[in-house]
Amino acid sequence: MKGIDLEIKKSESVAIVGASGSGKTTLLSLLAGLDVPTRGDIFLGKHELTALDEEQRARVRGQMVGFVFQTFQLLSSLTAIENVMLPSELKGDPRAQEKASEVLRRVGLEHRFNHYPNQLSGGEQQRVAIARAFASTVEVLFADEPTGNLDTATGAHVIDLIFELNEEFGTTLVLVTHDSRLADRCTRSVQIDSGELKKEEVASV
């Protein structure tokens, strides 16, 4: 990463686009506090991520951030509903189960509550991941190529879900993608090339 200067405002939806290996995912990891840069400062809300240790960053993530990954990253040992409950449980929310079933229904998986990840299709797994991201009210949702492993139709369905829920919950969305249609749906997109921000454009929508 070189000379990155980027500010994302509350409730914005921002797409990070670029070629493979350009540093999209690295940038996302840094923004989400999954990793730390060798130099520079990163703020997430009022937290200076670069000044926190791994333990404190985990706490910040737990409080503010939701994730959707290309490879879903569900816990294979937990059922769909348990996976969705997890973030709320980490926050100590007593209504974890209630909220989880609500969101799972919202993503259309009311008949899949007690299935394990390997019993679900790719699209279903990604919907569980989205439900997990929204189940505990988060401020920022980070999505890393959320449709990368899905067919076009399923991908489109997943994207619709993300934007719908984003709207509903008023979440800030940061999205890594190389799908220009997807990038177009965001309020703005930034392009990255060899670790540098190239240009910024406000979407036409």
Binding site: L34, D35, A58, G62, L75, S76, L90
Partner: protein, 833 residues
């Protein structure tokens, strides 16, 4: 495909760090096995050598006549060292006093093993010397000096010859080997014997021909000489020659072998785990190779070549490490081990090498060969094509390898099969129970907090892997518990065999009128003595009307002649009360003031090997008269407690009509030995048999053996820890991923460590419970079948086993996975996604 490609792949794997764990566990496993093998081998040799001092030789031929010169010539040919001793009882005289002494004449080679210890004055510690007395001098045991009123340099007469007293004899190595060494010792040179003229036709003499040297040569001599020996002569080594020691050595040897065996199994398990992990991480790798056109045979070649290279490397490095560690251990332990360890020969190194390779072949190769069965479609659907086809081969490889190694190590098929079936049975039961425990854990966990739920859900979800892991943990803990239990039982048995302050002198031939004053004398001098028992020679002539000699023919031709015979002459006694450590196993002991027809109580072996039952009517022949008696009870006798013990005891009054002498045993410390002079001067007709030297030697050897097996136990513990670590490592990838996801979602350190700790502790607890169960069963088989010990349930084990499992696995597992909470989650997610 091709050797060079295989090497290239191997190199790439190495560079990528994929091989580190496999190679490390191979090296450590081979190293552990080599260390244990070398160490056990050296200890075994050392113990045998040390015990040989008990005979002052490796083998002895003893008899009342000289043996033929052919045998000595044969021993010469075989390159064995030889020495000769001749013992007889004789009066020895100083100027004004006389004493009956046990004279032993020795040649210039004596002793072949161990050393003589002498001093200038009586009753001091003394220093070792290399040779016995020179021609023209005699050495006296300490207490002879005051009783004869002589000192160093004074003249002593034996027979018609006179000798100056050269040294005071403090200790001779073979003093303890046999009860016949009664009376204070005079040691003289063989060359002086003719001059004394005490050796005449008809004298009672004991010749002992001593041999030492190479084991093979000794065995050859024994095989050659045994059929050529006269009826009276006997040839034996330390194991047969010294009852008590032979037994202890035999058991120690079995224990060391068992230890080596368990070490091998543990190392094998560690290798299997590492290989399994390597193989499962290469499923994708192989699927891609296959997609690109690699044939199954090509894959096999690749991995076999890889295996050979790895194996050779690991075996060589491991053996070197084993050799060095073992040297280091010996260096550190040298001051603790009171015996000198012989240098390790090449044989154990070879043993280590071969063991290493067999381990690799049976434990590491099968998982690698499994890769052959990977289907290429896995490239597209990862959940397809988990190789399971080759499982049967995997198991049979491991089983054959394991049995082969165990058999080779223990040279005992019975022991091997026992441990193997025990292990398999335990494994089967364990896996069923483990699976059940995991399921119930989940149900319990549903009601518990987050960390518990996470941990237990994970455990159950990965039920198969975890069952496997519990099995491995359980097996490792079980082996350790077995070793610990057997060791404890052995050591206790040995300690009990010769307790501190056990009587170390026997007094026999005490006349009835001396009984009371002598008991008084013991009491006045503060000597701890056993009750005085009457002793009368007699034998059983008939049983329920059948001649006892007839019965011998029936019972002893069938059972191969073992055990005491019915018709042999025995020492008889009577008593009102059952001796302290005897136990009735059939019938009833008579009441203290019983006055009725004669009853007898028989010792268990005597009763069992002749089919005597309670209620049988016996007729005894005592001093030419017949005495009928009915068997009232059968009892066990603690033969090795050094107290007066009898095969046959009569009820009070039964033997009143027969004149008898009495016997007892008592304890004297070394510095109290002068009391013997007082005792013998007041009661000159009685005989004292000294067994203190023998007991002391038994105690020394037993404490050395105990230390040796404890050292081995520690080594095995270390290799057990290694298995645990390898097993935790093997499950690491899955756990890393799980916890990285949790980290990403914002789980705190406490939650993650908590769930890890709970998971490992629970695994450990289940493993501990199963291990305890398995080890109780196996130890029962071992102790009753192999070590001939009495089995007892070990209640403390049921606490110890699960506790050890929980703590050990909990700590090792949590520490090994601590990295999870320190690594930024992206690293893990990207590496594994």
């Amino acid at each position: 495909m091709h050797f060079s490609l295989a090497l290239k792949l191997l190199w790439r794997d190495w560079r990528a760090g994929e091989l580190t764990l496999l190679l490390t566990s191979l090296i450590i496993a081979v190293g552990t096995v080599t260390t244990i093998t070398l160490f056990v081998d050296r200890l075994q040799q050392a113990l045998l050598k040390e015990s040989a001092t008990f005979l002052a030789a490796d083998r002895v031929i003893t008899g009342s006549d000289p043996i033929s010169n052919d045998i000595l010539a044969r021993a010469d040919e075989l390159g064995l060292q030889q020495a000769l001793t001749l013992s007889f009882m004789s009066m020895v005289f100083s100027d004004d006093r006389a004493q009956f002494a046990s004279v032993k004449a020795v040649d210039d080679n004596y002793p072949l093993r161990g050393r003589l210890i002498v001093s200038d004055a009586p009753f001091v510690r003394g220093a070792p010397v290399e040779f016995g007395p020179q021609k023209g001098e005699v050495w006296l045991e300490s207490r002879l000096l005051p009783s004869l009123g002589v000192g160093k340099g004074d003249i002593l007469d034996i027979g018609v010859a006179s000798f100056p007293v050269g040294n005071v004899l403090v200790k001779e190595p073979d003093r303890g080997s046999g009860f016949n060494s009664a009376g204070p010792r005079v040691l003289m040179n063989m060359a002086d014997v003719p001059a004394t003229e005490v050796v005449q036709p008809g004298s009672r003499l004991t010749y002992r021909y001593l041999f030492a040297g190479d084991v093979a040569a000794l065995d050859e001599l024994e095989a050659w000489a045994k059929p050529r020996l006269g009826v009276e002569a006997r040839m034996f080594g330390v194991k047969e020659g010294a009852a008590g020691i032979g037994d202890a050595l035999d058991r120690a040897e079995r224990f060391l072998l068992l230890g080596g065996l368990l070490g091998v199994i543990l190392a094998g398990v560690a290798i299997a785990l590492a290989a399994q992990r390597y193989s499962s991480r290469h499923y994708d790798h192989v699927a891609i190779l296959k997609t690109l056109g690699a044939t199954p045979n090509g894959i096999d070649t690749t991995f076999i070549v890889m295996f050979l290279v790895l194996g050779t490397l690991a075996t060589i490095v491991g053996s070197c490490i084993g050799f060095i560690v073992q040297m280091g251990a010996v260096q550190i332990l040298e001051p603790l081990i009171p015996i000198e360890l012989p240098n390790p020969g090449l044989r154990p190194v070879g043993l280590g090498l071969v063991t290493g390779f067999i381990c690799l072949l049976s434990f590491a190769l099968p998982p690698l060969l499994k890769l052959r069965a990977i289907v290429p479609v896995r490239v597209i659907r990862r959940d397809l094509g988990k190789a399971g086809v080759a499982d049967r081969m995997t198991y049979s490889f491991a089983i054959v390898g394991m049995i082969g190694l165990m058999w080779w190590y223990s040279k005992d098929l019975h022991l091997t099969l026992l441990i193997f079936t025990g292990g398999v049975a335990a494994a089967l039961v364990m896996s069923v129970v483990a699976y059940g425990l995991l399921r119930s854990g989940r149900i319990l966990g549903m009601q518990a907090g987050s960390a518990w739920r996470l941990a237990l859900a994970g455990m159950q979800r990965r039920g198969q892997e975890n069952t496997m892991q519990i099995l491995i943990f359980g097996l490792a803990i079980m082996l350790l518990l077995i070793l610990y239990l057997v060791r404890t039982a052995l050591v206790e048995e040995w300690r009990a065999q010769v307790p501190q302050n056990a009587p170390n002198h026997f007094a026999i031939n005490i006349s009835p009128e001396d009984v009371d004053p002598m008991a008084q004398l013991f009491q006045d001098n503060g000597v701890a003595s056993q009750p005085l028992y009457p002793m009368i020679r007699g034998r059983i002539v008939s049983v329920n009307g059948q001649l006892s000699t007839e019965r011998d023919k029936k019972w002893h031709s069938e059972s191969g002649g073992d055990g005491p015979r019915a018709s042999s002459g025995r020492n008889l006694t009577w008593a009102a009360n059952l001796p302290d450590d005897n136990r009735i196993i059939a019938g009833k002991w008579w009441s203290e003031n019983y006055e009725g027809p004669a009853l007898v109580s028989l010792e268990k072996d005597l009763a069992q090997s002749n089919g005597f039952k309670v209620g049988d009517a016996l007729i005894f022949s005592i001093q030419g008269r017949e005495l009928p008696a009915v068997v009232a009870s059968v009892r066990t006798v603690a033969w090795d407690n050094m107290r007066p013990n009898f095969y046959i005891m009569f009820s009070p009054g039964a033997l009143d009509d027969f004149p008898s002498t009495y016997m007892t045993s008592f304890f004297l410390e070394k510095k109290e030995k002068l009391f013997l002079n007082t005792l013998l001067s007041q009661y000159p007709t009685m005989t004292v048999i000294e067994v203190d030297a023998m007991i002391e030697q038994i105690q020394t050897i037993i404490s050395q053996v105990t230390l040796a097996i404890e050292l081995v136990l520690v080594l095995i513990l270390i290799s057990g820890g290694l298995v645990l670590l390898a097993s935790v490592q093997a499950s690491m990838d899955e756990r890393f991923k799980q916890h990285a996801i949790l980290r990403t979602l914002g789980a705190g350190q406490r939650l993650i460590l908590g769930s890890l700790a709970i998971e490992f502790c629970a695994l450990g607890f289940f493993a501990g419970v199963l291990a305890t169960f398995g080890s109780e069963i196996t130890v029962y088989g071992l102790e009753t079948g192999i070590f001939q010990l009495d089995y007892e349930v070990n209640p403390e084990l049921w606490v110890l086993g699960p506790a050890v499992g929980t703590v050990l696995i909990g700590v090792v597992g949590t520490l090994a996975t601590l990295k999870v909470v320190r690594t930024p989650p992206t690293t893990v997610l990207r590496g594994l996604s």
